[in-house]
Chain length 280, copies 2
């Protein structure tokens, strides 16, 4: 596996691949890699000739300094996993390499998406995501990119960015990978104590119960009861829990049987903020 | 969920969807649905506006009459699973509906693919696959189609068909879903006895061991030893086991560290023929 630290190394590698008429599949990450990322790498291998990952903990997308400072770093293990899954190259730039002194930020107006759910709760987060993904796409020039729908709203933001770039990048939205007990895999799970890991099972269980109530219970009653249920668990605090239109992410007042509805939530388990979602 | 039995019903539904400018994701199946199919339906939901599945046990792709006659039919359970996963419509035509009397078969020359591995062992199989998939694509007019790479060679055949059709169909090659113990999920697993289910774990275990030997043991030694190992298990009979180039499916004599290598096998467990593969 090629390990690329600088913009120049990456560009040289990318141009070599392009000169062979091979397609590039790209999986951007913040490290702390897990089976969710590996599923993206595997899917990339099936759909692209060459797979490039990046590991970069992007400071500009953290609205919470504490979350940034405690974001797990597991570099040796990350590289081992990438090698096991035959990733062809990994780009691991420094912050200075990505944001040089003369750096001009890229901005994109994503409208309502910036004010709903994660947009509301994590001000500036998606601006940071857009900034880093724009830079990475510009450097890697991928043909295919692979994102997990656990970060459902993020994938919608990336879709808007790709539309804007108009550069024939194919977006693959990949299924959420779950542990056997249902917990969506996430880098932040590494920070959970065994007790917190146990109670975090309530997130997916809640989404499943919400799905079972689809069309049966009115949405406001359902939301209130599941928010109360979750908050009644010691050490759990609901940041948001909603039923939204899966295309717009607007809150639904009534079930919409014509389109897909999305149950979506963000919940603090102790100090760790976890997110999950389920289509129904 | 719309249940469509005839070509006309399907065409009417499809035209209605197209008139709304919605994209159609298509998952063709032979029924006996399992978590692998559901993973395709879920991925389709994430990447298309409307998801159409088909259930049709296509007689022309069975080279073995006995396999066709015993192919599992679990229609009630199939419909329940599709409803659970919010499939929008399912097309369940009769054989006469698909192959009317005046039917003119569609042929496509896929070259070597028809003579290697599954092509060699199941003469006529891919001709049948091409025939049915051509008819279904023509009727459904999908924007995206979703196939699992458990049937690795089949996905390559579909890719060639899509190239030929030149109709802007986006192919998603989706990861193999495995049971917790590693067995690739397959409709044919339903026909295994508990003892056969147990020994069938040897398939994936063998692929994993082959992967561990990557670059370390020469390929012919490795193939011979794993074929012998598998055949030494009572009730197991290897149909083929090979290490091939993942792009051409040609047998490799030496490891090719520049491109992906594919371990691929077909094994009889009792009377049931199972296939699996792993990239390395």
């Amino acid at each position: 596996m090629e390990i690329l630290y600088t913009r120049n190394e990456l560009i040289k590698y990318r141009d070599f691949i392009k000169s062979q008429n091979k397609s590039i599949g790209f999986v951007p990450t913040m490290g702390a890699l897990h089976q969710g990322h590996m599923s993206l790498i595997d899917t990339a291998h099936q759909n692209s000739d060459i797979v490039i990952a990046s590991i970069f903990v992007n400071p500009t997308q953290f609205n919470n300094q504490n979350d940034f400072l405690h974001y797990p770093i597991t570099l040796d293990q990350d590289l081992e996993l990438l090698i096991q899954h035959q990733c062809d190259a990994v780009f691991m730039p420094s912050v200075e390499e990505i944001y040089p002194n003369n750096y001009q930020p890229f901005k994109l107006d994503i409208g309502e998406l910036n004010h709903l759910l994660e947009g509301e709760k994590r001000p500036g987060h998606f601006d940071g995501v857009i900034e880093i993904v724009f830079i990475l796409f510009d450097l890697v020039q991928p043909n295919q990119v692979f994102f997990g729908v656990k970060d459902y709203q993020q994938v919608m933001v990336i879709e808007k960015l790709i539309e804007k770039l108009n550069r024939n990048i194919q977006l693959f939205k990949c299924n959420t990978v779950r542990d056997i007990d249902g917990l969506a895999v996430s880098s932040r799970n590494k920070r959970l104590s065994p007790e917190e890991r146990e109670i975090s099972l309530n997130l997916y269980a809640t989404l499943q119960k919400m799905k079972e109530s689809y069309l049966k219970v009115d949405i406001s009653t359902l939301k209130k009861s599941y928010i109360d249920n979750l908050n009644s668990v010691e050490n759990i605090h609901v940041d948001y829990l909603d039923v939204v239109d899966s295309q717009s992410l607007n809150s639904l007042i009534d079930w919409n049987p014509k389109d897909m509805n999305l149950g979506i939530l963000a919940v603090y388990v102790g100090n760790i903020r976890l997110i999950d979602n389920l289509l129904f």
